[in-house]
């Protein structure tokens, strides 16, 4: 439909490519250089000697453990979200009770309660119940703070299921539970993958809760490992950037193979 090529847009898109791509390139290139090579060549040079040493150093420095911890937290958070959000969204969409409407409003307000705002009492509560420096103490608040967005997204998806389908099942005498498993869940697959993607990213990239609620190396998550590494070895830029690459590697691998699902998922979060 559009006639001549849009040169201005083409140029703009290349500028943006440089803004996004260059830092990523510098990061990758620097992480594969030795400290002396990086210091003499500077960040913008094209490296002539590459070495995986920085990455190996990371793993001998305990990053493997941080990886494992982060993976545990991520899986647990996604599991909690998938366990409690679908029934909640189902109740919000289908229930006629005033209580569920009120609950929905609470979750909507929860959307804008930033984690920063409750971090002090969270620290108090988690310490009081003895979960300080325990992965469970990170998992629970992280999952709780993923709930509002996930609920919003999933209710949006479930509302698109036509009333006739429920009525047809009701005529067959299906109970609320049967409708949930036979009708609602199968038709909400897109929404379920969206909230999986969203909560997994929240958990993997989470920083504030681990920062405040954990302390020891045994319960350290990868973002915190990164932060500590910067505080302690800020001058070791190639090592630091290798750590950054490592922290994003699993997500980038998923992105490579499931880009569409991931982007659709995030688009669902933004669009709803």
């Amino acid at each position: 439909m559009r006639g001549r090529p849009n040169l201005l847009a083409g140029f703009g898109s290349l500028v943006w490519l440089a803004i996004v791509g260059l830092p990523l390139y510098v990061m990758l290139a620097a992480s594969l250089q030795s400290r002396t090579d990086y210091a003499s060549g500077g960040p913008l040079s094209i490296p002539d000697r590459l070495t995986p040493q920085n990455y190996l150093d990371m793993f001998s420095g305990g990053f493997g453990r941080y990886f494992l911890n982060t993976a545990i937290v991520t899986v647990a958070v996604v599991a909690i979200v998938l366990l409690v959000v679908p029934p909640l969204a189902y109740a919000i969409v289908r229930s006629r009770g005033r209580a569920t409407t009120a609950v929905f409003r609470i979750f909507l307000l929860g959307l804008a309660v930033p984690a920063q705002a409750v971090i002090v009492p969270m620290f108090y509560v988690i310490s009081e119940v003895g979960l300080y420096d325990d992965l469970i103490g990170v998992i629970l608040p992280t999952a709780a703070f993923s709930l509002p967005v996930c609920t919003l997204v999933l209710t949006g998806v479930m509302r698109e299921i036509h009333g006739e389908l429920y009525e047809a099942m009701a005529i067959d005498g299906a109970s609320a539970g049967r409708m949930f498993f036979r009708l609602v869940l199968p038709l909400s697959k897109g929404g379920l993958s969206t909230i999986t993607v969203f909560s997994a990213l929240q958990a993997w990239n989470g920083f504030l809760f681990p920062l405040v609620l954990t302390q020891s190396a045994e319960s350290k998550l990868i973002t915190l490992g990164l932060y500590d590494f910067r505080t302690q070895h800020g001058v070791n830029v190639p090592g630091l950037l290798a750590a950054v690459v490592l922290s994003m590697l699993p997500i980038l691998i998923v992105y490579l193979f499931a880009r569409r699902a991931l982007i659709q998922g995030l688009m669902g979060v933004g669009g709803k």
Binding site: M1, G12, S13, W16, P23, M27, A39, P43, P87, L88, Y90, A91, I92, S95, G97, T100, V103, F104, I106, F107, L108, L109, G110, L111, A112, V113, P114, A115, Q116, I119, V120, P121, M122, F123, Y124, V125, A143, A144, L147, L152, R159, A170, G173, A174, A176, F180, N205, F207, L208, T223, L226, Y227, R230, V237, V244, S247, M248, Y255, M267, G271
Partner: protein, 309 residues
Amino acid sequence: MTSLTAASAGRLRAARRPGAASSRPGFLWALPATVFFALFALVPLVLVAVLSFTEWNGLGDPVFVGMDNWSALLDDPVMLKSVWLSLLLTALGVAFQTPFSILLGVWAAGKQRNRAVLSAIYFIPLLLSATAISVLWRSLLDPNFGVPAEAEWLFGDGNLFGSQSGALAVLVFVGVWQFTPFHTLIYQGAARAIPQVLYQAAEIDGAGRVRRFLHITLPQLRNAIVTSVILMVVGGLTTFDIVLILTQGGPGTDTTITAYYMYDKAFKGFQFGAASAVSLVLVVTATLISLLVVRLSGYDRMRGSTEGL
């Protein structure tokens, strides 16, 4: 017509017969999520209000001190400055991110193959943690080992973090780098939903590309703009990670925004009571904006998009 009405009346009756009540989920279905959310989000929210009237150093028990924290907060020049800085950073973020993400989103909504490939790269920052992004930029902009040391014509003495304007510029820039992809995504989705008929009609009328953008695309993106701007405002007011890693609130307190000030008071100064008062200011601001979200977007009216079609 009559038979249709009779059929739907029959269905209504069927839905109302005894036992049909159980075909709708009760409150029990909402209970687990609600209890969980109440315990870990609402209880702390109430506690933050309670703690703001106490003095607590992180050990032992909080001691009730009445309005002390609040009156101290009112006289605290850093607090006032932090609110002002939060608003400034948020406004700058909206001002820079919105035009970029609208243009990129509309561009990426096109079907061409090269756009799909480029978009794949553009969206990468979306996946990265604020921590990773901040550490990356902190290293790239390092005064001694980073890019500024190589490009003095652009960066002057190279110490971007040494002045308030420099540090703010870094924060705004990194914010743009981090969040533009997300908002681009919102606009891409919205731009794809614009009916092609509108463009065809405009083309027949001889409207050029710029006019089509200004008179069709922009007005059609209105809802997306509202959503995106509100998300930017909420996100901007609660920016924390990038400040902690990039500037530590400095130089001095020149980039100490409210969220960072709260963290600083609590976990560096161990004044948890005073920090709670700061938190509460954050909560109230965020809640007011959240109410605005609900109002403007119509989320609370519970309507599916297929209804009325």
